[in-house]
């Protein structure tokens, strides 16, 4: 008797989304990045096509993140300048694209103005030629100004702008449509809200082919399993034919990992856990690797050691 074919047969394809625009497309990027387009789950290439490998976006910010010195040292002194950080990430860390978090705009922090943020974005775009992901600071009110200014400053560059939530999606859609950018739709670890945000975007006329989903990211040990399952369920739903879930996904690993004690506490605080300079990037890499397995198409990462490891994993496995 012949062995039965137990291969999964998916019926649908995940949207292909391209970020960045080269000169002919009205931008100034040296290359574009395309993600999505797969017709199977990660790694299972025998069940479908995986035309685009997952990519690593380098984490940069317009203020020095509140990370331990050991981690910042691993990245280098360039963290103090978004432009230098961007250049180092592209040249030395070999990231595929960049993700700038405008945490400096936080009204409770440095409170950088929208114009200052827009200038940073312009400077970064001038300094490197990879596509750019732009995030606000998380304060809806401030972000509506900041992202508006940045979207205008980056007009034509086909950036990916984050993030559209239930609370602010209309603003984000308006500024992305006006300046020809793409959108990250965000939901708070809830697959239903994730879908709802996509529906809301579609309802006001935004094309879901230009959207990447962000189901939020949890660091390993801090709800990682929830997000993992949600990402995987979203992907399965998409492959099964739910057009509202057939979108590529992004994970902000670097932004999340260096907030949990396992990745920030020194060995004297966690005896027996090993040196932080190794443990920090390991935590980041393990976390990122797992999200890739769940279906992430873009992982945002900060530490060069972690980036190097994930780069190898992607090249060899994905």
């Amino acid at each position: 008797m012949a062995l039965p074919d137990i291969k999964e047969k998916w019926t649908y394809k995940i949207n292909e989304v391209t970020i960045g625009a080269i000169e002919q497309e009205g931008g100034t990027r040296g290359k574009t990045i395309t993600v999505g387009g797969q017709t199977t789950l990660p790694l299972l290439s025998f069940e479908g096509n995986i035309p685009n490998k997952p990519v690593v976006a380098g984490y940069i910010a317009n203020a020095v993140p509140d990370w331990p010195d050991t981690i910042l040292k691993g990245i280098g002194d360039e963290v103090k300048s978004p432009v230098e950080w961007a250049q180092k990430s592209v040249q030395e860390f070999k990231v595929d694209l960049l993700s700038i978090k405008l945490i400096g705009a936080d009204p409770h922090g440095k409170n950088a103005t929208a114009e200052e943020c827009a200038k940073t974005v312009s400077d970064v775009l001038k300094a490197v030629d990879v596509p750019l992901i732009i995030w606000g600071c998380g304060d809806d009110e401030k972000d509506s100004l900041v992202l508006q200014a940045c979207a205008e400053a980056a007009k034509g560059e086909n950036c990916l702008i984050g993030s559209a939530k239930e609370s602010n999606y209309r603003t984000i859609v308006a500024l992305c449509m006006a300046n020809k950018h793409k959108i990250i739709s965000e939901a708070p670890v809830d697959i239903n809200i994730g879908k709802q945000v996509n529906i809301l975007l579609r309802d006001i006329g935004y094309n879901l082919n230009d959207v990447i989903m962000f189901q939020t990211t949890a660091a390993l040990g801090y709800g990682f399993d929830y997000v993992y399952t949600i990402s995987e369920r979203a992907r399965i739903a998409g492959l099964k034919g739910d057009a509202l879930m057939a979108l590529p996904q992004i994970c902000d690993v670097g932004g999340e990992v260096f907030r949990v004690k396992e990745a920030v506490a020194d060995e004297d605080a966690l005896p027996g856990w090993g040196a932080l300079e190794k443990r920090g990037p390991m935590w980041e890499a393990v976390c990122a690797g797992n999200y890739l397995q769940a279906g992430a198409d873009i992982v945002i990462m900060a530490h060069p050691v972690a980036i190097k490891n994930i780069r190898q994993a992607i090249d060899k496995l994905f």
Binding site: E166, N192, Q196, I199
Partner: protein, 633 residues
């Protein structure tokens, strides 16, 4: 402790209460029904009164506007009486009697005929008056009085055992001989036993009436029916006065634990007596000619009716005292009809599935239909039954009172002045009130319509949030975004009539709870909405819901409209069937045996399904495909 006198205007009613009593309790003591939904917790802000004379301890409530406070407004439930007071009750605070149209009676007439046409349903009311023209005893036939009567009755009714109470037997010799052996026997039936419950002089058989009641948590509906033929003479409804102890059954149970069952029973019985008196008076019927009361209601209400302890219903393992009580003398619980008249309670199923549901199953006759039927009874608790000839499964979901007009800022019960319909005409939002008077608020059907209209016009998004700048009706009122439907100048009480984002959220929550429950129950049976052949919508307000509105907000699924049947108040219909057809009454036992209760509290995917339904019309918009959805211009 000292006593104080509170006089209420414009009723001119004064009551003496102990110091420290709340104004709300005082009003209740004065028999004034107050529009109160939260049960006296100071949450709903409906029980506004104006202090005309006397001082009260200061109590700050966010439910009153600055303007109202300066005008002497207080919330009755938060205000303690500490000295003699004169209090004015503004009209909007007074609860009004609900308008019951005769629609229900008309529908039933048809239904009665249909049921009668069915081979099994033979007209056999649960009480029957039989005129007996007995032979006088002779030396040849000196059968004892009781046996003479029983034999005659037996000849009339056919099979079954006959019983008679001691008191009646004692009176027999006198009443028979005093009336030349021409008397009328009133016979009450339960299963196969016939009880001769009364012997009256002469022939009164033509005058025999029954009262059929649906005891709702919010509204009590009573129908006066002729026991000699299928005829609904009149219908009346009133609020359940227990409302002052909370709008949901659980808060009533808690109140009963604090204050005693008798307190809550008294309120209910007085409501019922009021309805019966009103019905009898209008139609010039003597109370003594009303020989039976047949009640259906949720299990908790049925317990309050009989004064049965309710405390174990809300505690694990949720045991009611009785779900199938025998008939009692109505007078035993204080219901004023014929002193020997009977009170029948329809059998229920469990603590959370009461006789309103068995009545609903009876009325829709889903146990005798081909294909799968689904019955949803929309109320504070949404009850859902799915089944066919072989089996029935029931579940119950706590929806909250938003669909009944509570928990919504401008929500009122279905009464004169309630907006019951909202629609679009010439691209403008229009409305219609009950009684065609200036509006005072929305009742459930109006709220469903309004949310649907706002959504379809693109004034709110799928989460129920206002999209700015799209309609001039969207305004900022007391710091919250609202849709102003009726300006205060045009309303019936001088206040704006509007709906806020949080009101809409409450409506979405309620519809999500009901939809999720339906979906899960069907999923457990490995079915979908498409497998349902008959989709019944019941509820006291179910008569008026606009089907397209209900579908467009996702309260009911987007199925073939031909499958959807509005069944109206199936609780009262089922009780009426049971009153007219003993076979129907006995069939409730079959219904009980076939019905399984599925507890949603044990369903681990309920929250997930609920979440999915918290969207207009639903997160799985594919479920509502083809449903017209606004597109941004």
């Amino acid at each position: 402790m000292a006593d104080c006198t509170v006089s209420f205007q414009p009723h001119n009613k004064a009551v003496t209460v102990r110091k420290g009593t709340t104004l709300l309790e005082a009003a209740l003591k004065a028999n004034i029904t107050i529009n109160n939904l939260c049960g006296g917790d100071g949450i709903c802000g409906r029980c506004k009164m104006i202090i005309k004379k006397g001082n009260i301890p200061e109590e700050v409530s966010g439910k009153l506007t600055r303007e109202e406070i300066t005008r002497g407004y207080v919330l009755a439930c938060l205000t303690q009486v500490m000295e003699n007071l004169v209090v004015e009750i503004p009209p909007e605070t007074l609860a009004r009697e609900k308008i019951v149209d005769d629609e229900d009676a008309d529908r039933f007439k048809e239904f009665g005929q249909l049921a009668q046409a069915g081979d099994e349903f033979v007209f056999s009311p649960i009480v029957k008056k039989i005129y007996l023209d007995l032979d006088s005893p002779t030396l040849d036939n000196n059968t004892a009085d009781q046996q003479r009567v029983c034999e005659a009755v037996h000849r009339e009714i056919g099979s079954g055992a006959t019983q008679m109470g001691l008191k009646i037997i004692r009176n027999l010799p006198a009443i028979l001989r005093g009336n030349n052996y021409k008397v009328t026997a009133t016979v009450g039936f339960r299963r196969d036993i016939a009880e001769i419950m009364n012997i009256e002089p002469g022939n009164t058989a033509g005058k025999n009436y029954m009262i059929v009641i649906d005891i709702g948590t919010t509204t009590i509906v009573a129908h006066l029916v002729d026991a000699n033929r299928i005829r609904t003479i009149a219908a009346k409804a009133c609020f359940n006065s227990q409302g002052i102890y909370g709008s949901e059954v659980t808060s009533r149970i808690i109140s009963a634990e604090k204050r005693g069952i008798v307190e809550l029973q008294k309120l209910l019985i007085s409501d019922i007596n009021g309805l019966i008196r009103g019905l009898a008076k209008e139609d010039r019927i003597n109370l003594k000619d009303i020989t039976a009361v047949v009640c259906a209601g949720n299990t908790v209400m049925s317990h309050f009716l009989l004064g049965l302890p309710t405390r174990y219903i809300r505690r694990k393992p949720y045991t009611p005292t009785s779900v199938d009580p025998p008939p009692f003398r109505a007078v035993e619980v204080g219901i004023q009809i014929n002193p020997r008249g009977l009170l029948y309670s329809l059998p229920g199923i469990s603590g959370w599935v009461g006789s309103d549901i068995t009545a609903g199953i009876l009325a829709t006759n889903i146990i005798d239909r081909d294909g799968i039927s689904l019955l949803v009874d929309i109320g504070t608790n949404g009850e859902i039954i799915v089944g066919n000839r072989e089996w029935l499964v029931a579940c119950s979901a706590s929806a909250g009172p938003a669909l009944e007009g509570a928990n919504v800022t401008c929500g009122i019960r279905a009464e004169t002045g309630a907006i019951e319909k909202v629609y679009i005409k010439n691209r403008k939002i229009q409305y219609k009130t009950i009684g065609f008077v200036p509006p005072k608020g929305f009742c459930g059907s109006g709220i469903i319509d309004l949310v649907s209209v706002l959504f379809n016009m693109g004034i709110i998004d799928r989460r129920g949030r206002f999209l700015d700048g799209l309609d001039e009706g969207v305004q900022e009122l007391n710091g919250q975004k609202v849709y102003l439907l009726v300006d205060r100048k045009k309303s019936g009480h001088g206040n704006h009539v509007f709906i806020s984002e949080s009101d809409i959220e409450n409506v979405i929550t309620a519809k999500a709870a009901i939809f999720a429950a339906m979906k899960i129950l069907l999923a457990r049976l490995d079915m979908s909405f498409d497998d349902v052949s008959h989709f019944y919508i019941a509820g006291a307000f179910g008569n008026h819901i606009d089907i397209e509105s209900a579908i467009s907000i996702g309260l009911i699924p987007n199925i073939d409209r031909n499958k959807i049947i509005f069944a109206g108040n199936t609780s009262v219909k089922g009780a009426k069937l049971a009153a007219y057809f003993q076979h129907a009454f006995n069939r409730v036992a079959q219904i009980r045996a076939k019905t399984t209760y599925y507890d949603l509290m044990g369903a681990d995917d309920y929250v997930e399904e609920f979440r999915k339904a918290m969207f207009l019309p639903h997160t799985d918009i594919e479920l509502f495909k083809g449903e017209k959805v606004w597109q941004k211009a």
